[in-house]
C-alpha cells in the first residue's frame, strides 16, 4: 500500500512543480518569494489544475486509510473445514495412565494415632517419620483443650475470616503467637502449605526480584510462581553466591535508577531446610540485607518450636533481633502438632496480608478446635522450655548414632530434628536408588522402626534433592529406642546394599 502512495506522490510532484514554475515566472527573478505571494499564486492557478490536485490529494488520503486487502480473508476457513478440524481433533487423555506396578500407588495405611507408637499396615512400630517433634500429637492436655473447644464451637467455621469465620479463639491464637515470637502481630492460615505460598505473592509482584536458596521447599517455589516476580536462585547456603547476585543487581540498578526505585527485593530462605536439614546463615543474611537493602522472608516450619532456648526458632538460635527479619512464616503442623500455619512480624508488614493473602481471604478459617490445640501447645512450650533441650539432646544422639553407616551418608545439622540418609554412591538411576532406599525402609518397618522416604514431585521441583530416607526425632523416643533404630538401619543398609552389590 505504501508503494502506491509513493507513486501518487510522484504523480503529484510535477503538478506542484508546474504551479511553482508559474509563480516564479510571474515574479521578478532574484526576488525572494513569500507566503502571501504563494497564496496569491494559488488563486491565479487555473481551476482545472486545482481540481486535479484536490482529487489527487483525496486519493492519497483514501489510500492511506483504506485497507487494500484483508489478511484474514485468505486464511478464513469454510464452515466445512472447521467442522472437519473439530471432528479430527483428539485430545490427550485427561491423565496419563498410571502403571499398575507403581510402587506407591497405594499409600501405607496407618490405623490409630500417628504418635510415638504407630501402626502401619497392621504393624506396630516406633515412629521415626512423623514431624511430631515435641510429642504433642497425643498429648492429653492438648486433646482436652481441643475437645472443650469442639464442645463450644463445633468442628467447622463455615466461612472465611471476613464473613463470620473469625472466632475469638483465632484472635487469641494470633496474639499468643505474636507474644511467643515477640513480634507485633501474627496472622494464621488454615493450611500450612498455603502460608508462605500466600504470603510471598502478597508482597512480591510482577517486576519485583526475589533471591531464593536453591534448596527452598516446594511451598516457597509455588509462592514464587504465583508472585510472577523475577526469581534468582543462589547456591544452597552460599553467601558469596548471593552477594554476587546482589552486586549484579546493584550494577543493574545503577543503569536504570528510576526502575530500581520501585523494584522491591526480597531474600527468601528457610530456617532449617526441610530438604537438606541445614540451618541458614542468618547473621550473614541480615548483614547482606542492610548492605543491599533487601527484605528477608524466613520460612521456619522446621525450626519453629525446635531451635533456640525457648523454641522461637532460628532467630533465637543465632541471637538475631527478630525485628531485622521482615516476615517469619511457619506451619503449626510439626512441632505444634495441630493444623495450619502462621506469619509473624511487624504490623506494617503482616497486616497487609489480611486483605492480600489469598489463602487467608478466600479460604475458610481454621477450625476453632485446631486453634485451641495450638494455643495449648504454646502453653506447654512456654511453661517448660526444657523440652527444647531434651529435643536437642535426642537430636544429637540420633545424629551421632547414624554416623558412619556403610553405604549411607547422613545429611543435616546436629540439632536438626529431621535428618536425611542418602546413598553414598548412586546405583545409576534415581529409580534404582529409590528402590534401594525403599527396601531399607521396608526392612526397618519389618523390625518395628517406622521410617519414610522423603518424597518429591520429580518433574515439578526446581532443583530436585537427591533421594533420601528421612529420620525424624521426637522427644518421646527413648535412648534405647534410638540406639535400636540406628542399629536396625545399619543392619538394613548392609543387608540391602550388600546384596545389591552382589547382584550387580
Amino acid at each position: 500500500m505504501l508503494c502506491i502512495c509513493y507513486q501518487c506522490f510522484f504523480l503529484l510532484l510535477p503538478l506542484l512543480f508546474a504551479l511553482f514554475q508559474k509563480r516564479t515566472t510571474k515574479m521578478a527573478s532574484g526576488q525572494q518569494w513569500v507566503l502571501v505571494e504563494m497564496v496569491q499564486a494559488f488563486y491565479e492557478a487555473p481551476a482545472y489544475h486545482l481540481i486535479l490536485e484536490g482529487i489527487l490529494i483525496l486519493w492519497i488520503i483514501r489510500l492511506l486509510f483504506s485497507k487494500t486487502y484483508k489478511l484474514q480473508e485468505t486464511y478464513k476457513l469454510t464452515e466445512k473445514e472447521k467442522e472437519d478440524l473439530i471432528e479430527e481433533w483428539q485430545p490427550e487423555p485427561l491423565v496419563p495412565p498410571v502403571s499398575k506396578d507403581q510402587p506407591f500407588l497405594n499409600y501405607d495405611i496407618v490405623t490409630g494415632p500417628p504418635s510415638h507408637k504407630i501402626t502401619i499396615n497392621g504393624k506396630e512400630c516406633i515412629n521415626f517419620a512423623s514431624f511430631n517433634f515435641l510429642g504433642l500429637l497425643d498429648n492429653e492436655r492438648v486433646k482436652h483443650k481441643a475437645l472443650a473447644s469442639l464442645k463450644k464451637y463445633g468442628v467447622g467455621t463455615c466461612g472465611p475470616r471476613g464473613f463470620y469465620g473469625t472466632f475469638d479463639v483465632h484472635l487469641e491464637l494470633e496474639s499468643r503467637l505474636a507474644k511467643f515470637m515477640k513480634t507485633e502481630e501474627a496472622i494464621i492460615y488454615s493450611y500450612g502449605f498455603a502460608t508462605i505460598a500466600s504470603a510471598i505473592p502478597a508482597y512480591s509482584k510482577r517486576g519485583d526480584i526475589v533471591f531464593v536458596d536453591e534448596a527452598a521447599c516446594f511451598s516457597i517455589q509455588k509462592g514464587l510462581q504465583a508472585s510472577r516476580s523475577f526469581i534468582k536462585y543462589f547456591k544452597h547456603n552460599d553467601m558469596e553466591d548471593l552477594e554476587r547476585l546482589l552486586m549484579e543487581q546493584e550494577q543493574e540498578d545503577q543503569k536504570n535508577p528510576r526502575k530500581a526505585r520501585v523494584t522491591r527485593r526480597f531474600i527468601v530462605v528457610e530456617g532449617l531446610y526441610i530438604n537438606t536439614a541445614d540451618v541458614c546463615p542468618l547473621p550473614e543474611l541480615v548483614k547482606l540485607k542492610y548492605k543491599y537493602k533487601v527484605r528477608i522472608f524466613l520460612e521456619e516450619s522446621m525450626s519453629f518450636g525446635v531451635l533456640g532456648e525457648h523454641g522461637r526458632g532460628v532467630t533465637e538460635h543465632f541471637g538475631v533481633n527478630i525485628d531485622d527479619i521482615d516476615l517469619i512464616s511457619a506451619n503449626m503442623e510439626n512441632a505444634v502438632a495441630s493444623i495450619g500455619g502462621f506469619c509473624c512480624g511487624r504490623s506494617f508488614v503482616i497486616d497487609h496480608q489480611r486483605l492480600s493473602g489469598q489463602g487467608y481471604c478466600f479460604s475458610a478459617s481454621l477450625p476453632p478446635m485446631l486453634a485451641a490445640a495450638a494455643i495449648e501447645a504454646l502453653n506447654i512450650m512456654e511453661e517448660d522450655p526444657g523440652i527444647f533441650t531434651v529435643l536437642r539432646e535426642k537430636c544429637r544422639l540420633v545424629y551421632e548414632e547414624l554416623q558412619g553407616i556403610p553405604g549411607l551418608k547422613l545429611r543435616g545439622e546436629q540439632f536438626a530434628p529431621a535428618l536425611h540418609l542418602q546413598l553414598e554412591r548412586s546405583f545409576g538411576s534415581r529409580d534404582t536408588d529409590l528402590k534401594m532406599l525403599r527396601s531399607i525402609v521396608d526392612y526397618c518397618l519389618e523390625r518395628k522402626v517406622a521410617l519414610t522416604l522423603a518424597r518429591y514431585l520429580e518433574k515439578e521441583e526446581r532443583f530436585l534433592p537427591p533421594p533420601s530416607v528421612r529420620v525424624v526425632v521426637t522427644i518421646e523416643q527413648t535412648e534405647e529406642e534410638i540406639k535400636e533404630a540406628a542399629a536396625c538401619i545399619r543392619e538394613a543398609a548392609s543387608s540391602v546394599l550388600n546384596s545389591q552389590h552382589c547382584d550387580l
Partner: protein, 545 residues
C-alpha cells in the same frame, strides 16, 4: 471490539450469513453447526432479565435465573458516591501528609526507611480511605457455634475503625445469615459432634505427615470411599483445605500446551490453580454458553497461538453455585458442549454440594445428570458439611494419578482426624445411612427456606440476583454508602449479614448476601425480612431528604 464484530463472533459466521438471507445452504451443507445459538443478537448478562430458558429441551424443569439491569439513575448515583469518597480520600491523604490529621497507618521501621517501599502509595488508597470507613462490617469475631443463631464479641472503635477494642460483652443470639451453613451441620451437639469427640480421643488433632509419606490414616481412607459413594463416582481423594484443592490440583492435570476455559466469575482458587498450571487461560462470559462455545470452536480450529499446533487438551472450569451471584451453572448445556468438542470438565461444587439436588449431591443431582459426565468433581467440606477441606472425585485413573502427582498429597499435611470424622458422620446423615430421615429433612427444609426467603424478598420489591433454587441470596445495594449502613443497621436489629462491594463485585454492584440454612426457622426468616424492609424504608426516607 465493536458491536457488530461481537455479534458476528458470538453467532458464528454461518448464521450471520443465513440471517441476511443469502447463500444459505449452498453446497447442500447443514448450516447450523453450533449447538447453542440465539436467533437474536447476543445479549449481555445484565441487559435484560434472563428469565428465559434457552435450550429448554436439556432441562427437566424450568431454569429460572435473573439479573436485573442496574437502573441508569442508580448507576450514576453510585459512581457519584465513589467520586465523592475518592475526593475526600485525597483530601484526607493531604491532611495526613501535612500531619494535620493523625495518621493511624502502621509505619515502616526507621532502619528501613531507605529501602524500596514495600507498598506503593496508591496501592492502599482504597483500603485506607474507603474500606477503613466501613471496616466494622467484616471480620466480626464470633464466640459460639456458627449455627442459625450466633453470639458476637462486642467491639468498639475509638479511632474510626483503625483499631478495635473488645468491650468484654457478648451480643447474644444474632441471626446468622452470613455463614455457609447450608444444611445446619455447624453444631456442637448431636451425632456429628459426638463422633468428632471420639475421633479426637482416638487420634488426636494433628497428623504430622503427608498422605504420601506416613500421614494416611484409616479414617482418611474411609472418608474417601464414602465421598466416592456419595458422589456416585469411582474414586475420590480429600485434601485439607478447599482453596488448596483447586490451586494445588489443577496444575497436576494441565500444563503447557493445554487450554483452560474459565468462567469470568470463578473463585480466586481456581484462577490461581489455572495460573500455576502454566496453561493458556481464556475467560468466557459468566454462565454464557454462546461465549463458551465460541471459545471452544475457535480453540480447536485455530490451535495454539502462533504455532497453530492443536491443543493437548481443553479443560472447562465452572462452579456449581457462584457465591457472589447466586447463579447455578447451566450444567446440561456445559456437558453437551463438552461432549461435542471433546473437552474435559472441572466442576467446583464448593457451594452446591449438599445444598442442591433432591439428595443433596450437588448440581449434578439437581439437574438429574450422570456424574460420570463430569470429569473432575471438586467440592469442599467447609460449607454444607460443617467441616473443613476439599475433595476431588472422578474415574479411578484420575484419582490414582492425583494420588501420585497432586502437590497436596506429597507436600501438605493430611486432614485432621476429627474433621474427617465430622465429614463422615454428616455425609452419612445426608445419605440416610444413619438410619434416620434427619438428612432428608434438612435437605427439604433448606429448599423450602430458600424458596420462601427468595419469594418474600422479591415480593417486597428488592432486586435479588441468581437462581430461584440457590440458597445464596444476593440483594443489590449499589451505593457504597449503603454497604456500611446496611451491615450496621442489620446488626442493630440482631442480624448478621455479609455485605460486599468492590473489588469482590463490579464497582457499581455492591450487595448484601444472605445464606439460607436448613437450621433457620420461618420466624427467623420473617424477622430478617422485616428488618430488611425497615432498613429499606430508612434508606428511602434519607434518600429523599
Amino acid at each position: 471490539m465493536t458491536e457488530s464484530s461481537a455479534n458476528k463472533l458470538l453467532n458464528g459466521d454461518v448464521c450471520h450469513r443465513s440471517s441476511s438471507g443469502k447463500k444459505s445452504g449452498k453446497n447442500g451443507f447443514v448450516k447450523n453447526h453450533c449447538l447453542f445459538q440465539q436467533p437474536q443478537k447476543y445479549r449481555r448478562l445484565r441487559e435484560k432479565n434472563q428469565n428465559v430458558t434457552r435450550n429448554s429441551s436439556l432441562y427437566k424443569k424450568p431454569f429460572l435465573e435473573s439479573f436485573e439491569e442496574t437502573p441508569l439513575l442508580v448507576a450514576v448515583l453510585t459512581y457519584m458516591g465513589y467520586g465523592i469518597l475518592t475526593i475526600f480520600g485525597y483530601l484526607r491523604d493531604f491532611l495526613r501528609h501535612w500531619n494535620i490529621e493523625k495518621c493511624h497507618v502502621a509505619r515502616e521501621r526507621e532502619e528501613q526507611k531507605d529501602f524500596v517501599p514495600l507498598y506503593q502509595d496508591f496501592e492502599n488508597f482504597y483500603t485506607r480511605n474507603l474500606y477503613m470507613r466501613i471496616r466494622d462490617n467484616w471480620n466480626r469475631p464470633i464466640c459460639s457455634v456458627p449455627g442459625a443463631k450466633m453470639d458476637l464479641v462486642e467491639r468498639v472503635s475509638h479511632d474510626y475503625n483503625w483499631t478495635f477494642q473488645h468491650t468484654g460483652k457478648v451480643v447474644k443470639d444474632v441471626i446468622n445469615m452470613g455463614s455457609y451453613n447450608y444444611l445446619g451441620f455447624a453444631e456442637n451437639t448431636g451425632t456429628c459432634a459426638d463422633a468428632a469427640v471420639e475421633a479426637t480421643h482416638k487420634y488426636g488433632v494433628g497428623v504430622g505427615s503427608t498422605r504420601y509419606e506416613i500421614g494416611n490414616l484409616d479414617i482418611h481412607e474411609e472418608m474417601e470411599q464414602l465421598v466416592a459413594r456419595f458422589l456416585g463416582v469411582e474414586s475420590s481423594m480429600a485434601f485439607g483445605m478447599g482453596f488448596a484443592t483447586n490451586s494445588m490440583n489443577i496444575p497436576a492435570l494441565t500444563g503447557k500446551g493445554c487450554l483452560i476455559l474459565s468462567d469470568e466469575l470463578n473463585h480466586a482458587s481456581l484462577v490461581l490453580g489455572a495460573r500455576l498450571s502454566g496453561s493458556t487461560i481464556r475467560v468466557f462470559k459468566h454462565n454464557n454458553m454462546q461465549s463458551l462455545e465460541k471459545l471452544l470452536r475457535d480453540a480447536i480450529v485455530h490451535g495454539q497461538p502462533r504455532t497453530h499446533r492443536p491443543w493437548k487438551k481443553i479443560l472447562i472450569v465452572v462452579e456449581g453455585i457462584y457465591s457472589m451471584e447466586g447463579s447455578i451453572v447451566r450444567l446440561p448445556e456445559v456437558i453437551a458442549l463438552k461432549k461435542r468438542y471433546k473437552a474435559y470438565l472441572y466442576l467446583d461444587e464448593a457451594h452446591s454440594i449438599g445444598a442442591l439436588g433432591p439428595n443433596g449431591r450437588g448440581v449434578v443431582d439437581y439437574f438429574g445428570l450422570d456424574p460420570k459426565d463430569v470429569d473432575i468433581m471438586m467440592g469442599t467440606f467447609t460449607k454444607s458439611f460443617g467441616a473443613a477441606g476439599g475433595y476431588i472425585g472422578g474415574k479411578r485413573e484420575l484419582i490414582d494419578y492425583l494420588r501420585n502427582h497432586s502437590h497436596s498429597a506429597l507436600y501438605a499435611t493430611s486432614m485432621s482426624p476429627p474433621v474427617a470424622q465430622q465429614i463422615i458422620t454428616s455425609m452419612k446423615t445426608i445419605m440416610g445411612e444413619d438410619g434416620t430421615t434427619l438428612g432428608a429433612d434438612r435437605l427439604r427444609q433448606l429448599s423450602e427456606n430458600t424458596t420462601y426467603f427468595r419469594r418474600k424478598l422479591r415480593d417486597m420489591g428488592f432486586i435479588i440476583y441468581g437462581n430461584d433454587d440457590s440458597p445464596v441470596v444476593p440483594m443489590m445495594l449499589y451505593m457504597p454508602a449503603k454497604i456500611g449502613a446496611f451491615g450496621r443497621e442489620m446488626l442493630k436489629r440482631n442480624i448478621g449479614t455479609v455485605v460486599v462491594g468492590f473489588p469482590a463485585t463490579p464497582i457499581i454492584e455492591s450487595r448484601a448476601r444472605f445464606c439460607v440454612s436448613a437450621a433457620h426457622t420461618r420466624e427467623m426468616l420473617d424477622t430478617v425480612k422485616g428488618a430488611v424492609t425497615l432498613n429499606a424504608e430508612y434508606f428511602y426516607s434519607s434518600d429523599t431528604i
